[in-house]
Amino acid sequence: MKNIKYLIIILGSLLLAWLLPKSYHLVTDIASPNIFTYYSSIDKAFCAIEFDEKEGHLIRKNIKTNRVYSELEFDSILPMFYSTQLFADGRMPKSIDGIDINPRIVNSKKFFFRVKPADKNKPHIPLYTLFESMSGRVRIEMPGDVFRLRDKIEFINPETNEINTEKSEKFNHHFVKRGFQFPAKMAAGNPSTRKAYDEGYFIIDNMNQIFHLKMVNSMPFLKKVPLPSEIVPEYILTMEPDDRSFYAFVFDANKKLHLITTDSYKLQEIPTPNYDVDRDQMMIMANPLYWNVNVVSSRGKEVMALHADTKEIADRTLIEGQAVGTNYSKYFLPFAVGFTSGNTKYIKPIIHFGSYLVLVTNFLLALIFVFIIRYRKQEFQFIPVVWIACTGIYGFITSLIFNR
Amino acid sequence: MQQAIVECKNLTHYYGKRCIYENLNFEIPQGRILGLLGKNGTGKTTTINILNGYLKPRSGECLMFGESSANLSPETKRKVGLLIEGHVQYSFMNISEIEKFYSAFYPNWRKEAYYELMKLLKIDPKQKISRMSCGQRSQVALGLILAQDPELLILDDFSMGLDPGYRMLFVDYLSEYAKAENKTVFVTSHIIQDMERLIDDCLIMDYGRIVMQKPVNELLESFKRYKFTCSNPGYIDEISDIYNPVTIKGNTEVYSLLGKTELQNLFAKYNVSASEILEENLSLEEAFIGLTGKY
């Protein structure tokens, strides 16, 4: 009887530990003032669009010199970002830093690459579409099957839900021949027909080797990427850039980022701010002159400008902003339970703890509770008092309601 | 002395701050039919609820067959037949289903007793109880209790919603059964006429207390109404053994357990000038009103 009551109180407290901080967030959350940062190939400094609290509107400025620009001026300061606008206006310089600038070069070298933790941490159905890479057609067409990679590679025909044994064996033979160790740890590809060309999949096998899989003229193409021994790949994202200069980004076990280049699969390290693929967001905004590498983490937003050709650091800065994650009334709410997070699509319980000072609040609440049960002429109960001392306001509210 | 089937010891109950009663004590010996009489709100249902274990009294306890009523064992529950207020039964069953249902719980189930009563109702065995009249439902509820053959019957306000024919049928059946089988019965009703034909002992409650607890015969033999003319009725209030004196235009009515001679002696002692004292015998209903007042 008493035990059931405690079960109810525990459940009620946990629900409050989830819903109270959530409501607190709903009321108090504010957007980060920094909206956009980009390295200016003209000013040779980071420029930003920010929300100005005093002015009450967006301002555009050079964050090194604090010079404020008009919208029109800002286009010319960031010619690579606003290239379409400048080409349309005829305001684009013919060359910058000795590099010829024309629409073809800009468009082929300009790309956006974004990685969010939730892209990696999400439920994924392990079926993959392998396109024909040399179909001779301009448009990529659906291949009529998908493959699975477990202890072997198998192609399945969606229309019949049956395995294409012949094709499976043909490919599997190749996998064995090339020394692929099943099962695969991950396969990265871009299964979309809306792209200029197809480079298939980059697959990490059970021995942490990377293989490049394509289908060329209906035949398997499987190549092992030569990896330096110190690189243990953890996560790969492929890209099919217009200039065909690289295949994929590799995040390794030492939290370093590498490119798999199209130059015989050579790896090139990309300097980045400290980055954790499971917690932080990364965005690379590339142009023919500089790569902007942005990392948003609990420290704020760190931006780095790299020379596009050498990937050497040209400049870097940290924009301290609102920290991501733990933000709730630390002295009142002892902890916060969450089930969803921006870092994962999975539902799983997460607990954030507040400050130790909340124990003072908890102790006071436990004391108030003791007085209340005295007033209600109930007998002293040890367990609810201890529970309130641990769970503070959550246990207090539920005990008041359910402990009569 | 026969063994008491029900024993209530020092029952005290309050609803919030309102006192229902304090230190209520009574027992029901085996084979007796005890009627609990009281106006609305004097705690009849409270007592029944405590007895059935659906209410925990503020203090005191109630024993049935020696077990605390708050926590009856299945064996004891099997020995108790329960009629809840309004003859409530599982109305989603029909009369043969409900018979089959209950028969599973009681090894001494007396199917014939139930169907004998059902025959009188002239109801199709497939008819659902929810479609029956209140009177018919009361017979189903009674029939089930008779078939259960319990040692103790607890009936809460059995007369509620019944027309006179069904009330009489109910009382006749019940009293015949209880007498023949030597059953113990605890019954409440607000129609006291019915009780007179049924009960052996009565427990009369008023707000916050018991006013009388006696066998009915004894009560009716000794509890009388006296009518007389009186010039100084104010003095009567000082006499403690007189109930509910009322004087209208010099004609006074009092109720008392005292005999006529004893009353006259008391009047003399308290200087009450009463003449033409008329002694009247009472029905149970009149006695109830005499004890609890009209209001």
Binding site: L15, L127, V146, Y346 | A70, F101, A104, F105
Partner: protein, 223 residues
């Protein structure tokens, strides 16, 4: 005796249980017809593609069916007990109270489980024809929390019905809504994959609550 008790529960809920099953079948028929149409119009290859690469889920219409079934079953079973305090009759049956209450709740759980298992079996049998095991397992992880929500809704609603006071019923309902939310946190297919076992335990955690309210009723707590 327990059989008789189960018979009583069956009498109360028979039409509801059959009805819920029929509604469930109708819902499945509707979903299957709708899917059959997509198979013809866009083809299975495209459907597989949007399921795998664009996180589409084909059985979203099932989402609230178990929840509604759980609510209604509890109401069908316990409202007749609470009207005119019929529960007093049930608790007076010559069995221990615990056994009476948990037999009643057990009946409801069993009835729901049968309805749900048949329902899920039909879904999976259908899906098994058109989809590979990878997609089937994603379907299971996605719909399971909904069915658990149905069973949880049943246990909570029984608790609310059996509770003798209205004030406490409201608090119970708040706890119910909070807890049920846990089964509907996201629409993303397979998102419960990591904690599915914990989700399965929720109804068992809640089950004894009903007995708690019966105990409150036994000591005569009322409005």
């Amino acid at each position: 005796m327990t059989n008789a008790l189960l018979f009583k529960e069956w009498k109360k809920t028979k039409w509801f249980a059959i009805g819920a099953f029929a509604v469930g079948l109708a819902l499945l028929a509707y979903i299957f017809l709708k899917l059959g149409r997509s198979f013809r119009l866009v083809g299975l290859e495209h459907l597989w593609d949007v399921i795998v690469n664009r996180d589409q889920f084909l059985f979203r219409d099932l989402k609230y069916f178990p929840l509604a079934t759980g609510f209604c079953l509890a109401l069908a079973q316990f409202v007749p007990e609470m009207i005119q305090k019929r529960i007093k009759l049930s608790l007076h049956l010559p069995l221990p109270n615990k056994k009476i209450v948990f037999s009643m709740l057990g009946f409801g759980l069993l009835a729901l489980t049968i309805i749900f298992v048949l329902h899920v079996a039909i879904v999976l049998a259908f899906a098994g024809i058109y989809f590979p095991k990878e997609i089937i397992s994603s379907i299971i992880y996605t719909i399971l929390p909904w069915y658990v929500a149905g069973i949880t809704a049943y246990t909570f609603m029984s608790w609310i019905c059996l509770e003798p006071t209205w004030k406490r019923r409201i608090f119970n309902a708040l706890i119910m809504f909070g807890t049920l939310q846990l089964c509907f946190l996201t629409d993303f297919p397979g998102a419960y994959g990591l904690i599915i076992l914990a989700v399965l335990l929720i109804p068992f955690y809640v089950l004894p609550f009903g007995y708690f309210s019966v105990q409150r009723l036994k000591v005569g707590i009322q409005d």
